[in-house]
Symmetry: C2
């Protein structure tokens, strides 16, 4: 089941929130002819004006009820902490047979927040495209963002199979590889592959920010020696990431605890001058890099 | 003072150690005609065979005395922990007027280890090219490695000015921007821009390595969401980095202490659900990224 000019996958796709991810998906849907039209709602008129000016959607309104009323698919693309409020606000206006999906980096909390407000006859297909850049807003969107990236769907036991398959078909059509797993597992995997790396990058860049002004200028000047990669990650959207950490608290704190123990062990080895411990540790970590290269993810 | 086909900057340049950095520098020196010939010594014949086979140097021998005897410039390109032993071993064989330089990521400890063995009439110009990749060995070398990268020289008060200028001219000729600073300051700046980022990358990749086998496969599969950048850094040469941490202990431990305090503060904010603290921190860190982009280091 894929879209074509004659029979698009969806009639109207409505975006609630049209930042980097929503704008990129709307552009990709339009490029691949997956919907008859795409529309957007957001809190700020300025955001919608940008989306319209750049030809990202066919229509836009700050009125959420009006925007979702005719949608066959509603894509919730807001910071995860707002998911529950969005679902509650739009629930009375969704049409029977509609599908609601999302793009949040956390799945358990989003499901817990949205599910209580889900109307009868509407399907919820939680999802997470593993794609993004350090830039934010509709002007940062581009249609190729999801190509050859993973999209993880975390359907619930009672989610209708055909709704899951239509959302999966959309992601495949925009170039993604689709995987399905349970939400708890998703949140554990992402805590180590994404949430902890972001937290650490934010921390080290903050540590450098607190250095004296002279030293800070030199950190910028000589950033290519390792630090620079962290600053790119730490330039990601602050509100999105605030919500990720607040909503995947347990999994993040658990993996952070392991990280801190491991860092303390290396710190101790440095202080005591235990070269063998350091070398053994630094050699072990090469195996994962080889795995990533072998999996063609490098 | 730059090299040309008629008057190369140096007669013979000898490399003690011919891994990624030494091989790249020899290739760059040859490409730009900066020396009449380059030669290398290393502990393992296999390494030298590779360097000869790939046309990296004109001659090579495991006999250090023989290799450095005729050199106008000796580039010490070994893990920093070996610098003192190298200087002691080659000192009796250096010719008067020779210059010894190095490429170590740590400067205070290297100077402390080398200086006591420096013969009368030989100049020591400690240096550090801020360039590298996650690959090691002579086969990883390439002549363009130093182009548009910084090279920091940390001359001592009694280092002859003309020796410093000739080494600086060489680095400029291979495409680098040369800066001069005192060794203590170098070690502090590099502790935050390079050593701490590498330590943290090694730690997080190690934390992931210790996860169960199933989860580890998924970490590899979904590594593009942040983790991947860390694995590249953590694939760097283990022995080189062991020596960096052992030899820049004080500066690394000091900045690691600050980092740990900052990480603990964020951990506390996550546990207590303090969204404002997280958002404020994540917004502050954007300024450094802007600085890096403005400085054209991004």
């Amino acid at each position: 089941m894929t879209g074509s000019a004659e029979t698009p996958l969806f009639g109207t796709v409505a975006f609630v929130g049209i930042g980097l991810i929503g704008a990129s998906l709307s552009l990709a849907i339009r490029r691949h002819g997956l919907a008859a039209r795409t529309v957007a709602t957001a809190r700020r008129q300025e955001t919608l004006d940008t989306a319209l000016r750049l030809g990202i959607v066919d229509a836009a309104s700050t009125d959420m009820a009006e925007t979702v009323a005719d949608a066959d698919l509603v894509m919730v693309c807001v910071p995860v902490g707002a998911s529950g409020a969005v679902m509650r606000a739009m629930a009375p206006h969704l049409k029977p047979g509609a599908i609601v999906s999302d793009v949040g980096s956390v799945k358990c909390a989003v499901i817990a927040d949205m599910l209580p407000h889900l109307p009868e006859g509407v399907a919820l297909v939680p999802g997470h495209p593993l794609a993004g850049t350090e830039f934010s807003g509709p002007e940062a969107g581009f249609a190729e963002l999801f190509e050859q990236r993973w999209c993880v769907l975390t359907p619930l036991p009672h989610t209708p199979k055909d709704a899951v398959e239509r959302v999966a078909a959309m992601w495949r059509a925009v170039g993604s590889n689709v995987d399905t797993m349970d939400p708890e597992h998703h949140d554990r995997v992402l805590a180590i592959t994404s949430h902890l790396p972001h937290l650490i990058a934010y921390t080290i860049v903050g540590t450098a920010t607190d250095l004296g002004a002279d030293l800070k200028q030199e950190v910028i000047k000589y950033s290519a020696s390792g630090f620079r990669d962290f600053t790119r990650i730490a330039a990601s959207d602050p509100v999105m990431w605030r919500d990720v950490f607040l909503n995947n608290k347990e999994a993040v704190l658990e993996v952070l605890q392991r990280f801190t123990e491991d860092l303390t062990a290396l710190q101790r080895a440095i202080r005591r001058g235990e070269g063998d411990t350091l070398e053994r540790h630094f050699t072990r970590t090469r195996a994962i890099r080889r795995g990533i290269i072998d999996a063609k993810q490098a």
